[in-house]
């Protein structure tokens, strides 16, 4: 039976340590959106020793570029994008204090090492379940990089956002364990 956990941001190392790969999580609180172009800028700021548009400590970054919201709506469809494209920047952000990321797909060895080093966690959200996920988003506020359009950084307030612990703080990886468990030679 899959274990279901209610979790609230910001995250900390003690709470993260209790999460195991395969746990189903309903995440609530504030999270930040960022994709390729925003990551490039954030990593550059860290490299230059400058401060980020948001305090990264304990925060969760969601890899998403939503569709435009219809009039009167908070957000458009908002499912996860492929995390692997953010891999070159993720260790830098985790080392700066980010404690969780949400996306879809495998991560690089360097990212997994940075997750272990920082006792962070990687959550998988269901790729393509963009309307279902959008229903858990209660507020959306532009934080930085409006010029990037769908790739701008937004602060989202979420309530029971459904995701799965894909890589836990000890480096257990559901992308490997799950596949091994169900493959038939």
């Amino acid at each position: 039976m899959t274990k279901e956990v209610l979790l609230r941001t910001p995250l900390n190392e003690e709470e993260n340590a209790k999460l195991e790969a395969g746990f189903k999580v309903l995440l609530s609180g504030k999270i930040y959106t960022a994709r390729d172009a925003a990551h490039k800028r954030l990593a550059q700021l860290i490299k230059e020793g400058k401060s980020l548009p948001f305090d990264p400590r304990g925060q969760v970054i969601y890899y998403v570029g939503p569709t435009p919201e219809k009039p009167g709506r908070i957000v458009g469809s908002a499912g996860p994008t492929t995390s692997g494209r953010m891999d070159p920047y993720t260790p830098t952000l985790l080392d700066a204090g980010v404690k969780g990321t949400i996306g879809k797909g495998q991560r690089s060895r360097e990212v997994i090492d940075a997750i272990i080093r920082n006792k962070a966690v990687y959550f998988a959200a269901t790729g393509g379940a963009a309307v279902l996920i959008a229903k858990s988003i209660r507020n959306s506020k532009l934080v930085a990089y409006d010029d990037l359009g769908p790739e701008a950084i937004r602060e989202l307030v979420i309530e029971n956002f459904p995701c799965i612990v894909a890589i836990d703080s000890r480096g257990r990886n559901l992308y490997e364990e799950g596949v091994k468990k169900y493959q038939i030679p």
């Binding site: 570029g65 994008t81 269901t126 393509g128 309307v131 992308y175």
Partner: protein, 301 residues
């Protein structure tokens, strides 16, 4: 209806022949493309929904079943809320079968199609994902144009337009390989299965695997894209290809990748193959992966 009189020179002298052309104004094409962009992104086709429903029953992984359930719930919500099922509303791939007895009037056909995409992505609140100048500036074109347009001239006086918006997650996992004839059927099978294995959760499984074999370098890629257009409840009419598709599907679903790559039995919903003749020295094979948001909508003018 347009009647054109053609003056021709026959052996016996001048003669006059009448042929009839059906006139289709570009404005009609624009409005059809616009509607197809919106509908394709909101409504998941019944054949896809049914395949996913079938797969829930066969899925052993509890997380896999959970994810498949979310995908089905998402499809229902997208229709109810009139929202695109996925935030990656894709490149607008437009396949046109243009009847040779049609006269497209009132403007440029390609411009009319792009205008339909522009209006559909704007009025449908779809995401604009196209960047101009891909090597250097990669600047968003702001209206999701240009579309990728394939026009085939066919007999008849109809215009059939299919919109197949395609996200980058699965398109990025697609591949063309110029195989040797000596690689044989086993070579094709190993390439297709290995392409899916290497893709893992990236293309948003459960996927549909489009395979093109034959033609040449660019033709096999186009075949693999067109192979995806076959409804999932239809078998390949060629019994040998049908058997090959079934064998590949079995092998792919033994990989253990499962829904979203987190482990399970449901990695692919179908494998669909299209072939055409090729050079004696070639065996081009293309694999075009399609995420579970298998979006196609067709209209005929």
């Amino acid at each position: 209806m347009v009647i054109i009189e053609i003056l021709g020179v026959a052996h016996a002298g001048m003669c006059m022949r009448q042929i009839s052309l059906r006139e289709v104004n570009v404005s009609e094409i624009t409005s059809v493309v616009k509607r197809l962009c919106i509908d394709a992104n909101i409504y998941l086709d019944k054949d896809v929904v049914e395949k996913i429903e079938e797969s829930v029953e066969k899925e052993d992984s509890p997380i896999g079943r959970e994810i498949l359930g979310q995908i089905l719930a998402n499809a229902r919500m997208a229709a109810e809320e009139q929202m695109p099922m996925c935030q990656d509303t894709g490149v607008a791939v437009v396949l046109v079968e243009l009847g040779q007895d049609v006269h497209v009037s009132g403007g440029d056909l390609n411009k009319a199609i792009n205008e339909g995409v522009r209006q559909g992505y704007r009025d449908g609140y779809l995401r604009k994902s196209m960047v101009d100048d891909p090597v250097f500036d990669r600047k968003n074109t702001q209206d999701n144009t240009p579309a990728v347009i394939h026009i085939e001239i066919v007999p008849g006086d109809a215009v059939k337009i299919t919109l197949a918006p395609k996200g980058a997650g699965s398109e990025n996992m697609s591949e063309v390989r110029m195989m040797k004839p000596a690689d044989g059927i086993e070579g094709i099978k190993d390439f297709v299965v290995d392409r899916v294995r290497r893709s893992g959760g990236m293309p948003c499984p459960p996927i549909v695997v489009g395979v093109g074999v034959g033609g040449n370098f660019e033709q096999c890629a186009y075949l693999s894209k067109k192979a995806l257009l076959r409804p999932l409840n239809l078998k390949n009419p060629d019994p040998r290809l049908n058997a090959l598709e079934e064998e590949l599907l079995l092998r792919i679903n033994r990989l253990g990748i499962g829904p979203l790559g987190l482990g399970g039995r449901t990695t692919a919903l179908a494998v669909q193959i299209l072939t055409m003749p090729c050079h004696i020295a070639s065996m081009p094979v293309a694999v075009n992966l399609q995420c579970h948001a298998q979006r196609h909508k067709t209209a005929t003018i």
